[in-house]
Each structure stands twice: as C-alpha cells, then as structure tokens.
C-alpha cells in the first residue's frame, strides 16, 4: 500500500514537472519610451520575459517601460529659489531641481492593462537655462533603471494576473 502511495506521488510529481517544463513562455512585444532601450537585454534574461521582442507588432501582449517625473515639495522650493538666482545671474548659476522619477512597467493584453509595477527614486539635477531639454539619461539614471529589474522579477513571479495569462496562453496556443 505504502509502495503504491509513493509510486502515485512520484508519478504526479513527474507529471507536474513535465507540465511545468512544457509550458511555453508568453511572447510579448516590447515597447519603451526611454531614449536608450537600456532594460531590453536585461529584461530578456528574466525567465518570464525571455520571449520579449521589439518586433512583434501583432502580439496581443505588450510590455511597456516608461518614465515619469514629479517635483518634490522640497525640490519645488529649492528649484524656485535657484531659478531666481539663476535668472539674476543671467544663467551663470544653474537651476537645481529635485524630483521623484518613476519607472513603470506595464503589461497590456489587447490594450487592457493587467499588471503594472512602478519604482520611484529621488534625483537632484542641475539645469542650465540656455541648454535645451535633454531626453538622454545619465549613467546614474541608467544604473537605477537596471537596479529595478531584480525587483521586477520578484513582482512578476508573484503576480496572479500574469500567472493566469500564461496559463491561458498555454491552454489556447
């Protein structure tokens, strides 16, 4: 009896292992608004995102990476004072800003958002009033973006909606 019980457990474990092994990774179209597509290669290394592709225009599943900025209360005051100072020195002294930058990863299925993860970091920047607005990211920002990827992996692994989507994909395709 005991032997039979152990055999059944072994068989069910093997089946689970086979099912997990056979499960296909969900293909996703990758889209970013970041000037340098920094996170693409690092994201592709994550097992759940190994099938992301920059050229899947028909894919119903899309992962987007975007950045937004928000002034902080302290940063507003400092920015205002430094803007005054900058103006009065004809721009010799740069404006100092303090902002919260938020990096957002969204997963959309046929344009319906099913998962969203965001990570915020505070940055202090100096801006020369004669310089145009630069959409390039500096090394500090790039490093921070890279540092969010392990956190993202953790979030992806525990996301119920994503898990259901992967199961659905494996059921239909």
């Amino acid at each position: 009896m005991r032997l039979l019980f152990l055999t059944l457990i072994f068989i069910s474990m093997s089946l689970t292992a086979v099912n997990a092994k056979d499960a296909k990774t969900l293909p996703m179209h990758f889209f970013t608004t970041l000037p340098d597509e920094v996170p693409f290669e690092s994201l592709k290394k994550l097992p759940l995102l190994s099938e992301i592709d920059k050229n899947l225009p028909g894919s119903p599943v899309v992962i987007t990476v975007s950045l937004s900025q928000q002034n902080t209360t302290g940063g507003e005051a400092a920015g205002f004072a430094s803007a005054l100072l900058s103006g009065s020195t004809l721009g010799l002294i740069p404006i100092i800003t303090n902002q919260d930058w938020t990096l957002r990863y969204d997963i959309l299925v046929n344009k319906k958002k099913i998962a969203s993860y965001s990570y915020t970091e505070n940055f202090t920047e100096t801006i020369n009033i004669y310089a145009g607005i630069d959409s390039k990211l500096d090394k500090k920002t790039m490093d921070w973006i890279e540092s969010t990827i392990p956190q993202l992996e953790e979030s992806l692994q525990s996301d119920k909606a994503l898990k259901e989507l992967i199961e659905e994909y494996n059921f239909y395709f």
Binding site: P60, L67, L84, F171
Partner: protein, 405 residues
Amino acid sequence: MNYKALFSIALTCLLLTSCGGATRLDANKLPKGYTLNKKLSIPSDVPLAIYLPKSVLEGSFVQKYSNRRVEVGKSLISAMDTVTNKYFTKVSYFDPSSDENFGLLLDIEPKWDYKNGDIVLTFNYKVLNAQQKIIMESSTTYEGTFNYQYPNVGFYNSSLRATQQMMVKLLNKLKPTAAIYPEVATMNSVSTELLADMEKPVSSGTGFHINANGQILTAAHVIRNCLVVKAQVGEKVTNASLVQESPLLDLAVMETGKPTENYLKFRKTNDIVLGEKVTTVSYPLKGLLEASPNLTLGNISSKKALKGSLGLFQFSAPIQPGSSGGPIVSEHGDVLGVVTSTLNISSLVERGVIPQNVNFGLDTKYINKFLNKHSFEYKYNSKKLDSKNVSDATLAATVQLACYQ
C-alpha cells in the same frame, strides 16, 4: 538704474513666468472667489462615494518631445484625494460590485481641453442621495497653466482647483452631515444607468447571438470599461451584461436574458480555406451612419495576420470602426471568425503606403475552445445555405452594442 540691472530684472520676471505650472498648488488655499460657509461642520461625517469613468482614471499619454509618460488619471485622482479627504471623513470610489455603504454619491464627468497652451478642466457633476435621487446638478471649469517640463503638475493643479470649486459648491449647498443625510445604501444597489451618460455612447461595436438563450459573442475590447452596455436587436434595445471574457483572445460573451430563434452556427471542421468567400455584418460608425446593419463581402486573404498575432486570420471584406465583434460567415452560413481589428495604416501612410482591406478576425478554432472552456451552448452548422439565406440569417443574428460610461 543701469541697463544690465534692468535686463536682469526682466530676465528674472521671464523666468518666473515660465515657472508657472512647475509647482503643485497649495491645497489649503481655495481658488479665487470660492469661500466655504463658516457654519459648516467639516469634515462631513456622511460617507461619500465618487464615480469617475474608468477610461478617465486610466488616462495617460507619452509626451513626444521628452518621451516621458504623463499620468493624467493619476494626477486627477491624487488631487481629488487631497481635496475630498479634507472635507469628508470617508471617501471611496464607486464600484458597482461593492457592498460598501455611501450616503452621498458624486457622479463626475470630467472633460479635458487645451486652450492657448493652458489646460482647461470641466467637471459636469451630479450628487445622488442614498435613495438614488439627484439632489444637486452643476458644472465647474478651471483653466490651469501647462508646463511642458512638468506636465503632471499642470494636470494635478487643474484637477485640484476644479475639485475645490466643486467641493465648495457642494458643501455650501447641501451642508452634508449624518443628521441631515442619515440614510446609507450599498454601491451595488445603485442603478448604473443613473451614473452613466446615457445620452451618447462612448463607443459602439457589434456582436451576434450564438444560441437560443440570447447570449451574444463579441470582441472584448468593444465592452471594455463600460458601465452600461445596451444591445440593439432590430428595433428593440435591451441591457447586456458581461458573462465571460478572454482579454488574450479579445473575446467576450454577453447575456441579454432574451431568448431568440436567430443565432449563428459554427463550422464543424474548424478550418478555414484560403480564398474562400466571406460575409461580415456589422454596425459601424454609430452616430454617423443610420442605425442599420452593414453587410460586406470579401475573401479569406491569409491564414496568418501580423507578426506575433495569436489565432488571427486576414480577410478582405471592408470593415469600419464599430465593426469589431461582428461575425465572419462563410458562403454556406458557417461562422468562421469574429472581427477583431484592422491594420493601423497611419504609420504606413507616412511612408507612402496605403494598404487596402487588411482586416483581422479570430479563428473559429479558438472561439470554440473558449466557448467549450466556459460551457457556453453553441451549435455546428449542418446545412448549406444559399447566399440569400446566409445574408438573412447573419443580419437577423447580428446586434449592435453600445457602451456607456
């Protein structure tokens, strides 16, 4: 005073002007001309529920010149939370499935506009009591500065001031206290038609009956974010509620509760033939065309669709906005698929390419899998109908779906 000093002052003034909209406005200060009645008891102890259309809450766009995401919906919610939590002890957002209580229900229809580089926010709103009776109806507009470098702040500030204006009017008029509004009701008891703007649908699409129970199959995106869905069958308009959906397949089944004899049957063999003739029936361009079904003819032009697509095929029968969810039927009357999308030609036009009739439908193989998975009734077609009967049967089974928020 020398010229240098004058120039310096002028430049400072210019900088200060350009700083407009760069900082969040003070929530403790009310907009000009708005004062609260001093006799009011604040914060009010009446539980307040707020309804905002889902599409507004999720609103965001990517600013082209900076490539930064502008969170319009989040800015609005953040401002609304800041203001309403100051004046009400309990504030929650309306959820039609929630059993949470409310004493007052604030139904807001926000409209964003842009004028001379400014953000103009208008709130058309009404307040309902627990008996679902409208006790106040008004609108308010605020024009705020838009700063290209800090766009989120601009949207926040406009939302903050517009919400303050709305709150001042509401509080001064209703003087809400639990003594005056002692009754509460649950959110799921509210008739959603009272909240949605029923004068004009935000979008429309097509669906078709799949069984005698009156269940309708459509594309899931047709009914996304709708508070109320109406199905027009002939001259009759009925309510339709979502039973099951698959965002991955872009498929949904709606319930009308109205049995019907007019429903379509599926092809048994589950395979489509390249080049075979197809008919689609849909209700496109609602508001522009008369509410009459459009029937178009074409062929299966490819068994595959865009790179990366799942379960889609390509067909040439012309479709328009509003055709989504319509049936794609063979010349013998079998359902071969559901209209899901068309090729987005705007980027191709810029390159001088104008593609024609590149439309996509979901293959019946996946539709049947979906229907079987969720145990929906449907039948296979065993008769070969002639073209007149195919058109008649398809027209009779196809319905127009209108989405209200």
